[in-house]
């Protein structure tokens, strides 16, 4: 089932001289893990703002083309309705957290929906459990490590049970091990709950192995859209200066030397496995 669909979507910010995204047509299946990448200023963030209705409702400007998210025509539904379907997790968790305890932060969005107390408690417990931070419930968010804070931010969005979750470079402030754990949490949400994940990311080495679909943008256009293996191996990705994972780069240089592996590896585990087959021969 298609959960996000755009046709010839073009958007210009108020006062903008040219469109920030132009003629974007894409289709995302429910329950998929999608990586959205491309050079700074390519329109990734603008596109995500369309998905949760901030564009056009908050930013104004001129939106042309078709946009359907979770069965809703975005321009016909206000932000608070879209917010129930599409959750957004920011780069820096500090910008998202503000309450005195983790539990209160996670409950905040639900309180705003006017949910009964007992149901709210259940939801909060569930969200804390899913993100592995039950033991932090009484702690103050600002006392936690960056990785823990980001999990609280994820839990507070997850508590709303959105169909789609957008993560905007969620690990750039985290150390690598913390980053890896966040990607694992995100992948579990996809696997266990069938949440559709859209990950905006520059650092592809850690995240690529989870992706079902990779979309690369440049100057407001979609230039590549497909399976990670074929995308990373394309010359366009390389020319655009996209941070192709090192495993793929190694595969490329080996190929230039006439060493043929099974395919472009999207993770170190896969690279090891493909190499093993060649080396043992």
């Amino acid at each position: 089932m298609v959960i996000i669909e755009t046709k010839a979507l073009t958007y210009t910010y108020p006062g903008g001289t040219k469109p920030s995204i132009r003629d974007v047509s894409l289709s995302i299946e429910k329950g998929k893990f999608v990586i959205l990448t491309g050079p700074s200023g390519c329109g990734k963030t603008t596109l995500c703002r369309c998905f949760n209705g901030l564009i056009p409702h908050f930013y104004g400007g001129e939106l042309k083309g078709e946009l359907r998210v979770a069965g809703l025509k975005v321009d016909e539904h206000p932000i608070y309705e879209m917010a129930k379907q599409v959750g957004l997790v920011f780069q820096n968790p500090e910008n998202q957290l503000f309450a005195l305890s983790v539990e209160k932060d996670v409950a905040f969005g639900l309180e705003n929906l006017g949910m009964p107390r007992s149901e709210m408690k259940e939801r909060v417990n569930w969200a804390l459990q899913m993100t592995g931070i039950e033991e932090l419930r009484e702690r103050a968010p600002h006392e936690l490590s960056g990785g823990q804070q980001q999990r609280v931010a994820i839990a507070s969005v997850l508590a709303m049970q959105p169909e789609i979750m957008i993560f905007d470079e969620p690990t750039s402030f985290l150390d690598p091990l913390g980053a890896q754990k966040i990607f694992e949490v995100i992948n579990e949400l996809k696997n266990k709950l069938g949440v559709t994940v859209i990950l905006v990311e520059h650092r592809l080495d850690l995240a690529s192995k989870y992706a079902d679909q990779v979309i690369i943008m440049d100057e407001g256009n979609i230039v590549l859209d497909g399976e990670p293996r074929e995308i990373f191996n394309s010359e366009t990705a390389w020319l655009l200066g996209v941070g192709v994972p090192k495993a793929v780069r190694l595969w490329n240089v080996l190929q230039e030397n006439g060493l043929v592996l099974k395919g472009a590896p999207v993770s170190s585990e896969e690279a090891t496995q493909f190499l093993r087959e060649v080396l043992k021969r």
Binding site: P39, K246, L250, L279
Partner: protein, 274 residues
């Protein structure tokens, strides 16, 4: 030369950020300070230009204790580029931002004009000369912050998390730029947890956990030591991970670089033929 001798530092909140750190950074070295969030990396480098003074122990910059000179004077030698450029920028135009410190240091107007033009050029910011720094993108603001430091030509340049929010191409530019600075004899200290970036630069790595230095040496040695990386919440570079998975074939695993990886694999296959 920066000599750190057994320093301790505790924040007013009671957090003990440094617990006895000693190290020496020679002139012209390129050092990456790595470690998990909250390990004390930024606290340590803030001691290098006297922004913070140790509670115990001392820091000597070219033989002089940071306790005995003002930050203003130290800044002439040691430039510090903050993680968040907004903590640093405040002027109305990019040009003014870069000229500000030069004026404070008492350079004459002709020199200031020359230096500003030079720094704008160096960081590809000339077209934004008259623009407000706050109209620029995050990546561009980071470059303005860097330009304003480089303009006064410090011997030591400290960069706190320079790769955050930079796309792949900007990172590659940054890497070449650092290599160039280092080639001119500048000491460069980078605080980062970007493992792939460090693997590409291969500097000396100072690894920290919980306010202490736990390892100090070549990037190639430290990033491929899984006991160390785990202690410091770091994941080895992807190339290393691949080779760790092939250890049983008798291949080396202290590999961080794509071209070295290629050579080892091709040699192995060549050897297997004979």
């Amino acid at each position: 030369m920066i000599e750190v001798k057994g320093i301790y530092f505790t924040y007013p909140t009671g957090v003990e950020a440094l617990k006895g750190v000693s190290l020496t950074i020679g002139d012209g070295e390129f050092v990456a300070v790595m470690g998990q969030n909250g390990a004390g990396k930024t606290t340590l480098v803030k001691h290098f230009n006297g922004l913070l003074k140790p509670a115990k122990g001392e820091v000597l910059v070219d033989g002089v204790s940071t306790r005995d000179v003002s930050v203003a004077k130290l800044a002439r030698k040691v430039g510090f580029v903050f993680q968040n450029p907004d903590h640093q920028l405040f002027s109305e135009t990019v040009e003014e931002e870069i000229a500000f410190a030069l004026r404070n240091f008492g350079f004459d107007e002709t020199t200031i004009e020359k230096r500003v033009t030079w720094a704008l050029n160096l960081l590809d910011l000339t077209e934004y000369r008259k623009t407000s720094p706050f109209m620029l993108s995050g990546g561009e603001r980071k470059r303005v912050a860097l330009a304003s430091i480089l303009a006064w030509n410090p011997n030591v340049v400290i960069l706190d998390e320079p790769t955050i929010g930079q796309d792949h191409r900007q990172k590659e530019n940054l890497r070449q730029f650092i290599v160039q600075l280092n080639g001119q004899g500048k000491t460069v200290v980078v605080v980062t947890h970007d493992v792939e970036f460090v693997a590409e630069c291969n500097p000396r790595v100072v690894l920290m956990t919980e306010g202490k230095v736990v390892a100090d040496g070549e990037a190639k040695k430290i990033l491929t030591d899984t006991t160390l990386t785990l202690t410091a919440s770091i994941v080895p570079p992807q190339i290393t991970q691949i080779f760790l998975g092939l250890k049983d074939l008798g291949l080396p695993f202290d590999v961080i670089d794509v071209s070295e990886a290629r050579r080892i694999l091709l040699d192995y296959l060549e050897g297997a033929k004979h």
